[in-house]
Amino acid sequence: MVTFILNNTTVSTDKPSGSTLLDFIRTEMGLKGTKAGCREGDCGACTVLLGTLEGNKMIYKNIVACLTPIGNIHRCHIVTIEGINGENLTIVQKAVVENAATQCGFCTPGFVMSLTSDCLSENKSDSDTLINAVSGNICRCTGYKSIERAASEIAAAMREKDQKDPVRWLVSQNSLPGYFLTIPERLMNIPEKDFSTAGGRLVAGGTDLYVREADALAEKEIASLYRKEELTKTELKENSLTIGTSLTINELKQSEIISESYPGIISSLESVASEPVRNMATIGGNIVNASPIADFTIILLALNADVTISSHETERTIALKNLYKGYKKLDLKENEYLRSVRINIEPSLFSFEKISKRKHLDIASVNSAMTIITNGKFIEQCTISAGGVSPVPLTLVMTSAFLTGKTLCPDLIVSAVTVMEEEISPISDIRGSAGYKRLLLRQLLFAHFIKLFPDVIKLEDLI
């Protein structure tokens, strides 16, 4: 039995925990404002808010209902477009209307919910954060300029926002129904329940699994690892950072340790998926998906990460790069799951590059990350990883070794390309031809060095 609050109603359901929130909202509850557009988290028409209790306070984020199993939302507040409607239009709704930011209207509830999520967050809700909030919403009619104008108008209204208690502030502005203030207490009355031991398929954020297997899981129970407390912790011991695998990409973004040590990681995450997917997708999910192009895995490989794998009986730690045994094949037994990832915090420079057809919310043709420690021009340590150029997410072991211990100069980078060519084996597919991927990885290698060492490495000297 999953219990949660849907808008202003506490709902308990014995629907299978693997069925999607989208079907529950539309079919079971008859709330038709939330639309089904693609069922792969790529259009945002089904965007709703996920409210979770943090202490006695609510944190709201936008998520896509199509990829959310209801087993992931026990003791949460789910808000659909119907749940924000009041007598008057909210600030967001008004801005969308007045800026003609809706045409056919089918994507509109999703946009409104995403914009609302940013207003409800502790962000300052300027144009940038509001646009980031709709990074997972596709509109085929407007061309987005009117949506940008609406975002500017919302941003202007949000200058007054009380960032410490946005819910109360929005209620006071008649821009959110008053019932929101009752939610924390009502959620506290719902008993906690551990869904991870329920048996059935292990599911974390669901953002990958539900793209392919929503129908197969719709009538099944799942074992949810999403928001499982012991898997969402980060811990710094000396220079070793342990990251729980159920931490979402966006939760990781909040990590102060990472912001301080590897600010490049934080900015890289903007090119990973979209805001709602980043609110759902977990570190562990990205790793076990075993996609040869998984963005966060590529980042972790360059950081020489280890993973700790648990089962009921045992626990073992291996280098992440040794987890991958072949295309979508993992060194992971049936009863095992990823518990945590560990990286060393070192004084290295970091770079991540990702190229896809669309710059945001797209899967890379090729991606690559690099960590490097130099003394003057001397390369003391260097690890480069690359995705999309092999059956597995790849650490470029030979290229990294070739560069380590040498003096940085354009000729060195050009020579490194020859080494790199030997250890990659891209194939032609929908994300690009093999030849393109080879060329692209060379360019990304150049990009790492041009970006980190602009005085030493210049494009014109490399080509």
């Binding site: 693609c38 045409q103 509109t108």
Partner: protein, 750 residues
């Protein structure tokens, strides 16, 4: 004025097909598509699927009481494939079950046994095999073969443009149920309710009056629901007919994207000849339209390609031939621009190639050849109200084209890792259905006793704001508050024999019919008012809900007048019928006067290419556009912005890929990318050209839906120019879309 539906949109209260409250006992459908692009069907095994609990029935071609035929223009398209399949995804059966999931699962258990046949996906191969949907057509002007001798420069090349998925966010769907007169009522997400009605009647062996089709609104259409909504609606009707129960079918995205046709890919060869002073003397092109497995709207689309094959230029000697080629792809179909973008890309490519070879900016050739008043189009129409030069010049001046060029050169000289490029994109687009018959519409207006007004027309609201514009028209004619006006659903029982809402003509045709109806009502009401106020009807006028007599307000209000009229037994209902005057086209001579008027405009597009990574940003799209006297500048601006971004998407990132087996590889939203908010140009401005507007545009407000799409094509050439600035070894090629892969390869080609 904003779209009058927007307040409901933002509250999630607007009802789309899948939101209609379902009736008790409703069943749900799932379509089984062919897994072979071209094959002989030797066995269809339904047993395993039928055995699934909850499956009610499975329909195939054997269950069709009338004709297994849904082709709109040519009868060459079965509802369900029976003996052979002609494209991957072609419907073979409809499974109907108690819920969608059951239907989908059961569909997966149907076994089709088939023998493979030769698969053709390339229109040039189809041309060799003489696989045509209709015979080729040629438009000619002047004496092309003699003209080459007059040319100082002659260039030849090839051009390819790719398909484009509509990606309306609301997928195809329909909901049908038995009506109590023995007929069927269908709710359909269609741009063409009459087509749904006509074809359903044909398939069920019924008459059209037994089929009622109702459309509230679409969650996007863009041409994709002009013809292709029909088959799915017919399937639900067929199931409802047999089962006597309501049946709903909403395509899952992946079925939609695999089963439906797209914008036609074209492959073309051209030859262009210019004089020493860059006048285009001759242009010859042969274009191979990839039509897919059946005609659908391909013949009409081919025709528009021909009409627009010289874009906004006067070329005294032209000969353009289009072959509409049958291939084993889903039947390609209407998509904003309707063949014009493909034709325009060819002539613009020819100009770009000439400019490259002559080492001059393309805009010099463009400007030299812009259409003048009274120039002859190759299809015999004389240019009238031609504003293309004004648009081009005003864009150049207001957006400081010369400064821009200097800025770009300065940027390029000082940026080691990036290059900017610019292109100018003039556009000329003819308004009217090129099939003259279709240029007719009717509007039914009821004024209710309380003074409120209900309007039914053939126009479908799909985001383009036609309902709002129609409400504005009625409110303007009656001079009443627009809140009095309601647009009813589009319904074949209320307004019959409608043309699809397409060709940018929805507001023109239905709006003009509406004006006729409102004027007739107005005349009757003025008579009533004159009797009350004691004057001639000619002296009565309406101003802001007040009845004026000889230009002075009376005590009489709109509401009182309506009440009086009702009491006096005056009809408060009227149907207006409109046909566009003066248009005709003779397909034998390929000459005539097919368009009511043309829409003109010019865009300046600038881009920045990242020369390390091969990615690009669209920096600016700056437009001067001829709206005429815009009825609704807010809505028209939205059409410009939305059209531009779709055009940019087609030209840059939207890449449809089929493998040689005819299977779509870009069949999900994670593999087919349309522009997101970060893909929008940083700056998109549109200055309206000051014009009064043509008489044949409704209230002199020009149609706006399709023309802005073509501005986006400029991005292709702007990116080319940026690549050229980085790689002197680059020879321009013309193969749209310009994806990051192509950009990177071109940056480093030798």
């Amino acid at each position: 004025m904003n779209n009058m539906e927007s307040a409901n949109h933002v509250r999630g209260r607007s009802v789309y097909l899948d939101d209609i409250p379902v009736l008790h006992n409703t069943l749900y459908g799932a379509v089984l598509g062919s897994k072979a692009a071209h094959a002989k069907i030797t066995g269809v095994h339904l047993e395993d699927a039928m055995a699934v609990k909850g499956v009610e029935r499975i329909f195939t071609s054997a269950d069709i009481p009338g004709q297994n035929e849904i082709g709109g223009i040519i009868a060459d398209e079965p509802l369900f494939a029976s003996d052979e399949t002609h494209y991957y995804g072609q419907p073979i059966a409809l499974v109907v079950a108690r819920d969608e999931l059951t239907a989908r699962r059961a569909a997966g258990l149907i076994k089709i046994i088939s023998e493979p046949l030769e698969i053709i996906t390339d229109p040039r191969i189809a041309r060799e095999r003489e696989e045509f949907l209709i015979p080729p057509r040629t438009f000619r002007l002047g004496e092309i073969e003699e003209a080459w001798d007059q040319c100082e420069y002659i260039f030849e090349g090839s051009v390819d443009s790719g398909a484009q998925e509509h990606l309306y966010i609301e997928t195809q769907g329909a909901y049908a149920y038995p009506a109590d007169n023995g007929g069927i009522k269908i709710h359909s997400s269609t741009q063409g309710p009459t087509a749904v009605q006509r074809i359903t009647a044909q398939v069920l062996g019924m008459t059209m009056n037994q089929i009622e089709v109702d459309v509230a609104r679409l969650g996007g259409g863009f041409g994709g629901k002009e013809d292709q909504a029909t088959g799915f609606a017919v399937m639900t009707a067929l199931a409802a007919y047999h089962l006597h129960r309501p049946v709903k079918l909403v395509l899952p995205r992946h079925d939609d994207i695999r089963m439906t046709g797209k914008r036609h890919p074209y492959s073309s060869d051209f030859r262009i000849g210019l004089s020493k002073d860059y006048r285009i003397i001759a242009f010859k092109a042969t274009m191979y339209q990839n039509g897919g497995a059946s005609a659908d709207l391909s013949p009409a689309i081919m025709e528009r390609t021909l009409f627009h094959s010289t874009n906004a230029y006067f070329i005294p000697n032209t000969e353009v031939t289009v072959y509409s080629c049958r291939t084993n792809l889903p039947p390609n179909t209407a998509f904003r621009g309707f063949g014009a973008p493909q034709g325009i890309f060819v002539i613009e490519s020819a100009i770009a190639l000439a400019a490259y070879k002559l080492n001059i900016p393309a805009r010099l050739i463009q400007k030299t050849n812009l259409l003048k008043e009274k120039d002859l189009f190759q299809y015999g129409q004389v240019a009238s109200g031609s504003n293309i030069k004004e648009c081009f010049n005003e864009a150049s001046e207001k957006f400081q084209l010369n400064n821009k060029e200097k800025e770009i050169n300065d940027f390029n000289a000082s940026s080691p890792n990036a290059r900017r490029g610019m292109a100018v994109m003039p556009v000329c687009f003819g308004i009217s259905f090129t099939n003259t018959t279709m240029n007719q519409a009717r509007a039914l207006v009821h004024i209710y006793q309380d003074g409120s007004i209900g309007i039914s027309t053939g126009a479908i609201e799909m985001g383009q704001g036609v309902n709002t514009k129609l409400a504005q028209i009625a409110a303007a004619v009656f001079s009443v508050n627009i809140n009095r006006v309601k647009l009813e659903t589009t319904n074949t029982s209320r307004v019959a024999n409608t043309s699809p809402t397409a060709a940018s003509s929805g507001t023109d045709l239905n709006g003009n019919a509406l004006i006729i109806a409102c004027n007739a009502l107005s005349a009757r009401l003025k008579k009533v008012a004159s009797a009350i106020t004691g004057c001639n009807a000619e002296d009565i006028s309406f101003h802001n809900e007040i009845i004026f007599k000889e230009s002075t307000p009376t005590e009489l209000t709109w509401q009182e007048l309506i009440k009086e009229a009702f009491l006096k037994r005056v009809s408060l209902s009227e149907i207006g019928h409109y046909t566009t005057p003066k248009i005709f086209f003779d397909k034998t001579s390929e000459k005539g006067n097919p368009f009511a008027y043309h829409v003109y405009g010019t865009a300046i597009i600038t881009v920045t290419v990242d020369c390390i990574r091969g990615t690009y940003d669209i920096d600016e799209v700056l437009i001067v556009h001829d709206f005429g006297n815009s009825l609704n500048p807010v809505i028209d601006k939205g059409q410009i912005e939305g059209g531009v971004l779709q055009g940019l998407g087609w030209s840059t990132m939207e890449e449809i890929v089929f493998n040689s087996e005819g299977r779509l590889l870009s069949d999900t939203l994670s593999t087919y990318k349309v522009p997101d908010i970060y893909s929008a140009p940083s700056r998109l401005e549109c200055i309206p050209l000051e014009t009064t507007g043509p008489e044949l545009a409704v209230m002199k407000s020009k149609a706006v839906g399709e023309p802005p799409f073509m501005y986006g094509i400029g991005a292709y050439f702007a990116i080319q120019n940026a690549i050229k600035a980085f790689n002197p070894g680059y020879t321009p090629d013309f193969n749209l879309p310009m994806t990051p892969e192509k950009v990177l390869r071109n940056l480093y080609s030798k």
